[in-house]
């Protein structure tokens, strides 16, 4: 495989980003491209020569997306350096960025390659964008475990997404399960100020875990018997990749790409409370089913490993170099069997 000089260009390397870059094991996500290609991360003002890189990646965050026209201007139109634009914001949150939809598209058109991490989110990007989840360091994370004596029986954990703020459905689900089985219910990443159920949260959860550094979070997560992710937004789902790699059986939303991918037997519409309740109870009581779910999850989690991610990224780059924007009302999705990108018109997005 060719060696690529890779730069992730940003406005500023903030303290949380520094933490993210230094943590061991590192969390899955955008910065893993940097490690995968042994690249650099630099604020815009510190880049002396944009042309010396093969790939410059920019995240379409509210702040960094403003660098894209500047970098394009410096590179010109005929540069061999590829400007890669990533957008992994859940499409339902774009309004929060306050950007006019047409400007959002115009920005993307300045890139040589645009990618999103989840099929339905990529569907909101420009034609010819690539659907490509960020890498996870599966190669290391799959070896992380905790001491057997620290494992809990019948503890069920949920992730709080502050940008969603909806805990009514997970709380309802937990109550349904509690009516039938004694469990310990825990919520991670809890921030009361964003919780639409904050009046009740003390009573609803046995433990509300606020901020944990990722390495500590992973160890904490491993204590749980089951993880539940009934998120209502469309996202690729970092935590469900984590639970798949770590072998924690998970019940959750089929709007989450990694749920559909890694936990096909336990993915439901996020408001299908009865279906999810049945699945959680079955996982708690049926050891064979639990093993089947975990085995499949570990196998499927390899989709997100460095080796496979690199293969996808290089294939996307090659296609983008040749011109991948000719698709009309479609984007590129990865065909695992044939190891190539195909038009989203040709596949069932729920089945990939």
């Amino acid at each position: 495989m060719p060696k690529i000089k890779f730069l992730h260009c940003c406005t500023k390397i903030t303290d949380p980003v520094k933490d993210c870059l230094e943590e061991v094991p590192r969390r899955g996500g955008m910065y893993n491209w940097l490690f995968l290609f042994k690249g650099e991360i630099l604020p815009y003002q510190y880049v002396d020569d944009f042309e010396k890189y093969d790939v410059i990646q920019v995240n379409m965050s509210a702040v960094d997306m403003n660098l894209i026209p500047e970098i394009r201007r410096k590179l010109g139109k005929s540069s061999s350096t590829m400007l890669v634009i990533n957008n992994d914001y859940v499409a339902e949150s774009w309004a929060g960025l306050g950007t006019h939809p047409l400007y959002y598209e115009q920005i993307q058109r300045l890139g040589d390659m645009v990618f999103g991490t989840e099929p339905y989110q990529t569907s909101c990007l420009i034609d010819g964008a690539f659907c490509m989840p960020h890498p996870h360091y599966v190669e290391v994370l799959k070896h992380v475990s905790i001491d057997e004596k620290d494992k809990e029986s019948d503890s069920v954990a949920v992730m709080f997404h502050w940008w969603e703020g909806k805990t009514y459905l997970p709380a309802l689900l937990i109550q349904k399960i509690k009516q039938q089985k004694r469990i310990f219910a825990r919520i991670y990443g809890y921030r009361e100020e964003y919780d639409d159920m904050k009046r009740w949260s003390k009573a609803l959860w046995d433990e509300r875990v606020t901020h944990l550094r990722y390495p500590d979070f992973i160890e904490h997560l491993l204590q749980n018997t089951i993880f539940i992710e009934p998120v209502q937004y469309h996202t690729y789902g970092r935590t469900t990749v984590d639970t798949a790699i770590l072998g924690i059986p998970t019940v959750g939303s089929n709007r989450v790409f990694s749920m559909r991918k890694c936990f096909p037997y336990t993915s439901f519409d996020p408001v299908d409370i009865k279906g999810m309740t049945r699945a959680v109870l079955r996982l708690l009581e049926d050891e064979d089913f639990r093993e089947k779910v975990v085995r499949k999850a570990k196998e499927q989690a390899e989709y997100f490993n460095y080796k496979n991610s690199k293969k996808r990224f290089l294939a996307a780059l090659e296609m983008a170099q040749k011109g991948a924007h000719h698709l009309k009302n479609a984007f590129w999705v990865w065909d695992e069997k044939n190891e190539m990108f195909v038009s989203s018109k040709e596949v069932d997005l729920n089945a990939i």
């Binding site: 061991v24 094991p25 190669e139 290391v140 070896h143 992380v144 475990s145 905790i146 001491d147 057997e148 004596k149 160890e219």
Partner: protein, 206 residues
């Protein structure tokens, strides 16, 4: 003398010098510790962790057996143990302290066992070695079923004789090309519930 030692100096030592170094270190340890019978009454948590993953009535190799406490504990649980250590003095004391196990003086890099043991244990040794990857390879070759290793996390429990300081990625590297079937967790060294300052690694052959 030991306060002047640096990893660079130790790495250049011959086998004879290495043995003298560890004979001295072992005798210093013996002087500091309570007598062996008292030690046997206070089995540290890491040894209980080893015992948990060894199948019943196993033939066990303890690499870097030191004072023989792990062998004594495992023998009391019904396992048949062989302890090896680079220190001849340690081996002599082990033979007195633990009559129901076998001990030989042997450098880990000179080991040539081929699947002769159901389990191979190695408690806080690889951080002392010049070539820990070779040691893991030799231990992996020696086991039929499981390889169990503990080692300090990074600079926890630092001592002048530690030549290696392992992080998670370095532990994963040790097994590169050997097996993918291993798990790493953190456990306390001495007492259950204490600071988790050791990596504990379980690698399974079958």
């Amino acid at each position: 003398m030991q306060s002047k030692l640096t990893p660079e100096i130790i790495k250049k030592m011959s086998k004879q010098e290495w043995q003298v170094l560890y004979d001295d270190d072992y005798m210093r340890y013996e002087r500091l510790m309570p007598d062996f019978q008292t030690r046997l009454k206070h089995i540290p948590y890491r040894f209980k962790w080893f015992a948990r993953y060894i199948p019943e009535r196993s033939r066990v190799l303890d690499v870097g057996c030191g004072d023989g406490l792990l062998c004594a504990y495992l023998a009391s649980l019904g396992h048949k143990c062989l302890g090896i250590d680079c220190s001849q003095k340690a081996i002599e004391v082990c033979r007195e302290n633990v009559p129901n196990a076998d001990f030989i003086q042997l450098f880990v890099e000179d080991m040539d066992f081929k699947e002769e043991f159901d389990a191979v244990c190695c408690s806080e040794v690889i951080e002392h070695l010049k070539d820990p990857k070779l040691a893991v390879k030799k231990m992996w070759k020696a086991t039929k079923h499981v390889l169990l290793i503990t080692t300090p996390i990074g600079y926890a429990l630092n001592c002048p004789l530690h030549l290696n300081h392992f992080g998670l990625y370095e532990i994963v590297d040790l097994f590169e090309g050997l097996t993918d079937n291993f798990m790493i967790c953190r456990i306390p060294k001495a007492v259950e519930g204490g600071t988790k300052n050791l990596f504990a690694i379980r690698a399974y052959k079958r």
